[in-house]
Symmetry: C2
Subunit: 206 residues, 2 copies
């Protein structure tokens, strides 16, 4: 079995979405002066590779600790949308073969971008794309940009998915991933009641 | 496929090993006053369910970002050591059938303890047990206590495993897990150069 790590490394140079905490690590004690090394980390629930829970947009929505893992572990398909310059619409998705009941991973030109720079022109979905995926329905949606929604657009892209219980995985690194079917495993930290959580995500292939 | 979550929930009441940062979450903005909710979290690299990297005890050891996922994803066996009152020795392990090349998960009476209380009498391994597992060898070792080593004992339990590249998973919740063979998936956050990282761990069964 081959494991493809599609998570982004967290380090002090990692770009973060505006208003979100940047990652910091402080070494509290260190070998050989101490018997073991130990660090404190600070980050946001939407920093780096992470999962949005319904609580991100709904006051009474499920926290990340109540997102069923059955939505984050299962059959996944990678869709090549690297030809989209700006915004992914339902029309772009209709042209691809998007299977029902799968985890859909959207590969865009974001994966080729410098992870140390926040570029507000990142490719993302509009409401029509979110509605298309929610109607299929899909199990979960992942994308390789900092958000599934275009920067500074105030629309219902997140709501259309999260209100249907469809978790959104953001900040994936799909740069080295061939378009194919995989088993996807994404495990967010279990943060009680939180709007989202940092996660590690992998693809498995026989 | 059935998914068993063997991670501990992180909340403000979670007990933490002395000197390690306790988990804190601060809500930075919240719906409906803001368009979306967002939090900052603070925790330690060894807080809650986590993985120790070789860097935890070796100055030049691999950081958690260089621990191969092939050691944290694979065939696992749960060993019932709930009858051990205090310290697990090589003798205790010799009595069980411990297979080579597997991920070994040690279930003790720690799993029945209150996760809100740090009890310094937690059950852990001594050097003989670590040496036994390193010699087999195993792929990785997981335990349901706050450390694989007894509290305040300064010995080479961690070194015997980590110096051989065997990652140690601590803070698992094995309370509801039948003794059996599983596929184990443990995904720590990818923290550049860190001595360890918080993780989510699951067991899969057909």
């Amino acid at each position: 079995m081959r494991i493809l790590d599609i998570s982004r490394v967290l380090n002090e140079r990692s770009a973060t979405y505006p208003l979100n905490p940047t990652y910091e690590r402080t070494i509290l004690r260190d070998v050989p002066d101490a018997p073991s090394s130990l660090s404190r980390i600070i980050l946001g629930t939407h920093t780096g590779t992470h999962v949005d829970a319904p609580r991100h947009v709904q006051k009474d929505g499920a926290g990340i600790d109540h997102v069923p893992l059955e939505r984050l572990v299962g059959s996944a398909v990678v869709l090549d949308l690297t030809d989209v310059a700006d915004t992914i619409t339902a029309r772009d998705l209709e042209k691809r073969r998007v299977p029902k009941g799968h985890i859909v991973l959207i590969q865009t030109k974001n994966s080729a971008a410098d992870p140390g720079v926040f570029d507000e022109r990142f490719v993302a979905c509009d409401e029509s794309a979110a509605q298309f995926l929610a109607n299929l329905p899909v199990l979960a949606v992942g994308i390789d940009g900092p958000s599934i929604k275009k920067f500074q657009v105030r629309d219902r892209t997140h709501h259309l998915l999260l209100e249907r219980g469809i978790p959104v995985i953001e900040g994936l690194d799909l740069s080295a991933v061939p378009v194919d079917h995989y088993t996807f495993v994404c495990l967010p930290l279990v943060l009680a009641g939180a709007d989202g959580a940092p996660a590690r995500a992998i693809l498995l292939r026989e």
